[in-house]
């Protein structure tokens, strides 16, 4: 059972890469949930995967392809919102990303391995470039959210007041969309589509349910994400399992525990 300790030392780069991404995705997930855009996590993840596969087929670096494709679609979002009902946009992106990714995997030789890795999560192969990318993304993302978090909340809760105050609109529209797209495309390359989605969805969901305020939620979500991530990393190493599904399973179990706790908390509150 303790054989995994030397492995842990061996896998410090992937371990740190995933931890940085877990922090970033959980923070991002809070704002996506606030905006009721958590479908974005799946959509940008699938688009990133499709872009990476397309880039590999063209002989380009897959990370660049994933980022470029995801960012390009995020850049068009504001324009597409004028033509299509907003609530259907992310599911549509998700469907396109999923079908493109699978078709590329099925028809182009040499991309199957990457395709499978993107869906399973290939964290153990994360090298120094992925670690640097994750560190940069976390630094930029945390700085962006620290500077614009108030505007994101204000634009969501008091949209008319936000516009009347003449506050800068680009950070809460294009700026946030681009950050979400880039972060998710990057995360998918190492955590896999469902692993990244689970990190965006579940810790913020629990933080929304339990935190007494926004500042507390900003602490609760990353702590839960790191806890689940660390547990999944160790379990995947011990039992030699693919990382993405293990992480999704651990987060799913955490969500179920949270739901049960919430149910009991609700009963206790109702009984008072």
């Amino acid at each position: 059972m303790i054989d995994f300790l030397p492995q842990l030392a061996l896998f410090w780069r992937p371990c740190l890469t995933g931890a940085l991404l877990a922090l970033l995705l959980s923070l991002l997930g809070l704002y996506l949930r606030l905006r009721r855009e958590y479908w974005a996590a799946l959509a940008y993840g699938q688009l990133g995967a499709a872009g990476a596969l397309g880039a590999l087929a063209l002989g380009l670096p897959h990370i660049t392809g994933g980022l470029a494709f995801s960012l390009a679609v995020a850049g068009m979002k504001h324009w597409l919102e004028k033509c299509l009902p907003a609530e259907g946009l992310f599911p549509l992106f998700f469907i396109f990303g999923w079908s493109l990714g699978l078709l590329l995997t099925a028809n182009l030789p040499g991309v199957e391995r990457l395709g499978a890795a993107l869906f399973e999560g290939q964290l153990y192969f994360a090298g120094i470039e992925m670690l640097c990318g994750a560190a940069l993304a976390l630094a930029l993302g945390a700085f962006f959210l620290w500077r614009t978090g108030r505007f994101l909340l204000l634009a969501r809760l008091f949209p008319a007041h936000f516009h009347a105050q003449g506050l800068p609109a680009w950070p809460v529209r294009a700026g946030f969309d681009l950050l979400a797209a880039a972060s998710l495309a990057l995360a998918v390359m190492s955590l896999g589509v469902m692993g990244a989605f689970a990190l965006v969805f579940i810790p913020p969901w629990l933080a929304f349910a339990f935190a007494p305020g926004w500042r507390a939620a900003l602490a609760v979500a990353p702590v839960l994400a790191l806890f689940a991530y660390a547990l999944a990393f160790v379990l995947a190493l011990i039992y030699d399992q693919p990382f993405g599904p293990t992480l999704a399973l651990v987060l799913g179990a955490l969500a179920l525990s949270g739901a049960v706790a919430l149910r009991f908390a609700g009963r206790a509150e109702g009984g008072e």
């Binding site: 909340l153 809760l157 008091f158 349910a209």
Partner: protein, 191 residues
């Protein structure tokens, strides 16, 4: 000092919503917009706030560097959002000083654990006490309980005394009489 002036102004979304209106609002003054449903009161507020509605004719003058606070009839969508009352006030830069005592206590709790009336009062307070020269309030008495409604005229008066100009839409004639310096009756444009 003149904050806002409208001259023969007609506003609307796709078509003109009301008959021409003219008024001037200075610091410390409160103007009430009255009229039946569909008379264009909320549309006029939206145009004054510069958020979306169109000016079909007439002119608007706004003092340079005017800071506007705008409260609509819609409650902030806080269901399920982990946000305390104090955090809501901090969002707009509103001071909690002067909040009625029961609400000051509530402000520490999550908004979705409060009653609709408490939430509305805190949301109104967040706009009312935001750093602004001009406040545009659409039915500020909606959802308030008796105590909240009773305190509203004095709260509005106090804010005006701090130098803000206030334009409010209200169906409550008593509220308008109790705190407004001027009443503007609006009529729908049926052309």
């Amino acid at each position: 000092m003149k904050l806002l002036q409208a001259a023969q102004l007609i506003a609307g979304w796709r078509r003109p919503a009301h008959r021409p209106v003219s008024f001037t609002l200075g610091r410390g003054e409160i103007l009430a917009l009255a009229g039946p449903n569909g008379a264009g009161k909320s549309t006029l507020l939206a145009v004054l706030a510069g958020s979306g509605a169109r000016v079909f004719s007439g002119d608007i003058f706004r003092a340079p560097n005017l800071r506007i606070g705008f409260q609509t009839q819609y409650l902030p969508p806080v269901a399920g959002v982990p946000l305390s009352g104090a955090e809501l006030l901090a969002l707009t830069g509103a001071s909690p000083e002067g909040l009625p005592e029961p609400l000051a206590v509530c402000a520490r709790r999550r908004l979705d654990k409060l009653s609709g009336g408490q939430r509305q009062y805190l949301a109104l307070w967040a706009i009312l006490q935001a750093p602004a020269d001009l406040l545009l309030l659409d039915e500020p008495g909606n959802h308030l309980d008796k105590a909240g409604l009773a305190s509203l005229p004095s709260v509005l008066r106090a804010r005006a005394a701090q130098g803000a100009g206030i334009v409010l839409v209200s169906h409550d004639a008593e509220l308008a009489r109790a705190c407004c310096d001027c009443l503007l009756s609006m009529e729908a444009c049926n052309d």
